[in-house]
């Protein structure tokens, strides 16, 4: 219909404003997307990125401003209308249906039909094709919810890519992905761009932006403060624009030396842990005052290891010993009693209780401790909530339902939920997912400080940079087996990458390398 060589930009959003119950979310936001262009949209948590995107696609109604697609004013009233207009979106919170199969999700709303009936065979084949473009080979008949977040995210991407958009909007698609999947995604994005598709890409990972985007739109407090070619700004300048003040040194280097162990006995000792189907034989130890990292590729069993330590998944074999507690942990309840805390990687399915307030969400794990003679101490609850909102810089009111918060701010509330329990051992699965660069540095500093004060931390992160900068010692998992330990002297992104891929390392762990099959 439209000649791709038409003059002028593909999308123009000008002077867009939006308030939620009097609170300004967008205030004169502007964004221009050229043809065959990948534009970065960046800003701090709560700056208004997702809101701007949702206004474009008709999820929210704008209060003012205009949106021009192909130079013509448009006013989409629903995601479906936007899709019909060629604008396809991958929302920050995957909004597919967990109970439906992967194939059904990819073809949701456009099932292939034959003689009036759903053509399941075509649908399955189509789904497999769409996923193959992303180098993903999974059982498309299984329910989406049975796969981990990263796979769900890839499914959402496969769906969007197969919708044949003119403008593809990706709101933090990479926050749950590991490096390898990010590369695959970027390959797909480049070939889409070469075939004339424009894209808007949201990410808090600066290096990704420089790798894939040509131009950048910077939002600060709902206002567009810069629209420039990315090449004209270095990372430091970019972050400064985002924050509205000079950024401190952004990149934090690896720790020079391991912290001395405070005690000879570990606070958490795992040996030979197994949990079907993915975790087979994992061993590690966490000491008070240290940050122990766990690294591994997607499907290597990192999350499963944390889950089975916490009693969220059954432990089929091996032992987990928490120093403060001799009894084995079978449920999260027992884990909490043993002063463990576990931040799940899946914010939506296992974290937030959507309609509950920020206050109730933040103190959910603390509820028993806040209760005196059966009555919740609301005053103390309020103090704690106010305290953490300030400490983590959460942009929210205490009595706001948590669904109304931006993704990064929800994540901060969940982190606060566990910090507030003052655990002896903190299990963190992708703790900085969706959190902006400056807040991420602050959170990692906080974790560092907590460790220095005597907490034991077990950290899983797909971002090697984070693992390298935050951890004293890293256990590498491969196919559910702990194959190596890398200590702080040898710790670098390159060394980790090599061990994760090959499973061969300076042999210090007791388990032998295991290189037969790989799943997921």
């Amino acid at each position: 219909m439209t000649d791709p060589k038409t003059e002028g930009p593909l999308l123009q959003m000008r002077g867009v404003t939006k308030s939620f119950r009097g609170a300004r979310a967008l205030d004169d936001a502007t964004m221009t997307v050229g043809r065959s262009q990948i534009r970065a949209l960046i800003g701090q948590n709560g700056a208004g990125k997702s809101t701007l995107i949702k206004i474009l696609t008709g999820v929210y109604r704008r209060d003012g401003g205009e949106v021009l697609l192909d130079g013509r004013p448009v006013d989409f009233r629903s995601t479906a209308e936007a899709q019909a207009g060629g604008v396809v979106t991958i929302y920050q919170e995957v909004n597919l249906v967990p109970k439906l199969s992967v194939a059904e999700n990819i073809f949701l709303g456009r099932f292939p039909k034959r003689r009036g009936l759903v053509d399941w065979a075509t649908m399955r084949a189509g789904a497999r094709d769409a996923l193959a473009k992303l180098s993903l080979d999974i059982d498309v008949t299984r329910p989406l919810g049975s796969y981990r977040v990263a796979t769900q995210q890839m499914t959402a991407i496969a769906r969007a890519v197969s919708l044949e958009a003119r403008l593809l909007v990706l709101d933090e698609p990479t926050s749950s992905l590991a490096e390898r999947e990010v590369e695959t995604l970027f390959g797909v994005m480049r070939s889409l761009r070469d075939s004339g598709v424009s894209m808007v890409f949201v990410s808090h990972r600066m290096d990704e932006l420089y790798e894939i985007c040509e131009d950048v739109t910077v939002l600060r407090d709902g206002r567009t403060v810069a629209e420039e070619p990315l090449a004209s700004l270095n990372q430091y300048e970019l972050v400064s624009k985002m924050l509205g003040r000079a950024a401190e040194q952004v990149a934090s280097g690896a720790r020079a030396a391991a912290r001395p162990r405070q005690q000879a006995e570990p606070v958490l000792a795992v040996s030979g842990a197994a949990s079907a189907p993915r975790l087979k034989d994992a061993s590690l130890a966490v000491y008070a005052g240290q940050v122990q990292g766990v690294a591994g590729l997607l499907g290597s069993g990192r999350s499963e290891l944390l889950r089975s330590i916490f009693g969220a998944d059954p432990l089929d074999g091996g032992t987990v010993v928490v120093s403060s507690d001799a009894a084995p942990i079978r449920t999260p309840r027992e884990a909490i009693a043993a002063r463990l805390a576990f931040l799940s990687e899946d914010r939506r399915a296992e974290g937030i209780v959507p309609h509950l307030s920020v206050r109730d969400n933040l103190t959910l794990a603390l509820l028993p401790k806040l209760t005196r003679r059966g009555i919740v101490d609301r005053k103390r609850q309020k103090q704690i909530v106010t305290d953490y909102i300030a400490r983590l810089g959460i942009k929210a009111q205490a009595d706001q339902p948590i669904v109304e918060l931006s993704g990064g701010n929800q994540q901060k509330v969940l982190l606060a939920r566990w910090l507030a329990t003052e655990p002896a051992v903190l299990l963190l699965d992708e703790p900085t997912r969706g959190i902006d660069v400056s807040a991420k540095a602050e959170i990692l500093t906080l974790v560092d400080k907590l460790a220095a004060d005597g907490m034991g931390v077990l950290l899983v992160s797909s971002e090697l940079e984070e693992v390298v900068s935050a951890c004293d010692d890293v256990t590498v998992l491969r196919d559910g087996v702990s194959v190596a330990r890398v200590d702080v002297e040898r710790l670098s992104e390159e060394s980790l990458m090599a061990v994760m891929a090959s499973g061969e390392a300076v042999p210090s762990a007791d388990s032998a390398p295991n290189k037969d099959k790989s799943d997921d």
Binding site: S19, G58, V59, R61, R62, D63, G64, E66, P73, D75, R77, S78, T79, A80, E81, F310, A312, T331, P332, R333, A335, I336, A337, F342, S344, A349, E350, G351, I352, V353, P354, H355, L356, D360, L364, A365, L367, P368, L370, T371, G374, I375, V376, P401, V403, R417
Partner: protein, 328 residues
């Protein structure tokens, strides 16, 4: 996602109000207010305190008590189809014991115990055995009333017992027993959900069961308790109904009460998916539906037509629920 309402791009301040959400939350109260105004103008003696307390409110109170229990169950993401049958069962068991000469001090608590036991049965099926709430409570929906019939041998027998008469006709603090009970129960439920951790736990289990489990909440226990409380309240209402009829009647006691209760929770704007609970709005929902029926019937509209009107209101409520923002 498929909001296809036609609205201009520039939205005026008035239009910026989220009408579906407003109507969902306060619609029932607004309709109730309109009905009251209508009745004040067009219905004779409507404002008479005796009419309000001893006719309108006394009729609505038993359903309202059952609806509070229903709202608790719905907050966990469940539903309880058995409460009407449990009302019948508890009343009939009590009636039979009284007729057999068992002292009221024993027979009445037994009625409530029957309700609690039924709730425990439902809750166990749902939370321990993972049976769909609709199916699990269907068991007692059918079996409960059948059992009540077996217990009484299908006969309607007058129960002459001062305490039963008191339950039906007595007055405490100037209020009929049922209205007084409703007030006490409402205050108790609001107090417990607000001041103890129970309210937060209930909403957490209904809002995100997996998240609730990970913070150490005993999700199965919380769910079971919701059914137990709902059953206990239905058991108590069984006694109130026995007092009202002053006879054993397994066929009609509590008939359709589960449907009235679910309808009230729905028009109150509670998502049936769980995670929200509003006792005040639930009671308003009951009063509104009751007064709607009474008003239509009092003004010569056939009961069948009145029921259709009620059906339409419920459909409208559910439609608004789907459209409003915070229901998602």
């Amino acid at each position: 996602m498929t909001d296809l309402a036609t609205r201009p791009a520039e939205v005026s301040a008035l239009r910026r109000i989220d009408w579906p959400t407003m109507i969902r939350r306060y619609g029932a109260a607004a309709v109730l207010a309109l009905l009251v105004i209508f009745n004040i103008i067009f219905t004779e003696n409507f404002l008479d305190l005796r009419n309000i307390l001893f006719v309108q409110l006394r009729q609505a109170a038993p359903t309202a008590i059952v609806a509070l229990g229903m709202a608790l169950v719905i907050a966990t993401g469940g539903i309880d189809l058995s409460v009407g049958a449990v009302v019948a069962l508890s009343g009939q068991v009590t009636a039979v014991f009284l007729l057999d000469g068992v002292p009221p001090l024993v027979a009445l608590p037994i009625g409530i115990l029957v309700g609690l036991a039924a709730g425990l049965f439902n809750g166990t099926l749902v939370s321990r055995f993972g049976i769909q709430p609709m199916i699990a409570t269907l068991v007692l929906f059918t079996a409960g009333r059948g059992l009540a019939q077996v217990v009484t041998g299908g006969r309607i027998q007058t129960v002459n017992e001062p305490i039963v008469e008191f339950l039906g006709l007595g007055v405490i603090a100037g209020l009929p027993i049922s209205v007084f009970s409703l007030i006490v129960i409402t205050i108790a439920i609001i107090g417990v959900t607000r001041f103890t951790p129970a309210g937060t736990k209930l909403l957490a289990v209904g809002g995100n069961e997996r998240a609730a489990g990970l913070v150490g909440i005993r999700t199965k226990w919380v769910k079971t308790m919701a059914y137990v409380v709902a059953g206990g309240l239905a058991g108590y209402v069984g006694l109130l109904e026995l007092g009202r009829i002053q006879a054993s009647d397994a066929t009609n006691a509590g008939l359709n009460m589960e449907l009235d209760a679910i309808a009230a929770v729905a028009v109150a704007g509670t998502t049936l998916a769980g995670g929200t609970f509003s006792p005040g709005r639930t009671i308003i929902g009951v009063l509104m539906l009751r007064l709607l029926q009474n008003t239509l019937v009092a003004h010569g509209i056939p009961r069948e037509v009145a029921q259709i009107a009620q059906g339409l209101i419920i459909v409208a409520a559910i439609y608004l629920l789907r459209r409003s923002r915070d229901a998602r």
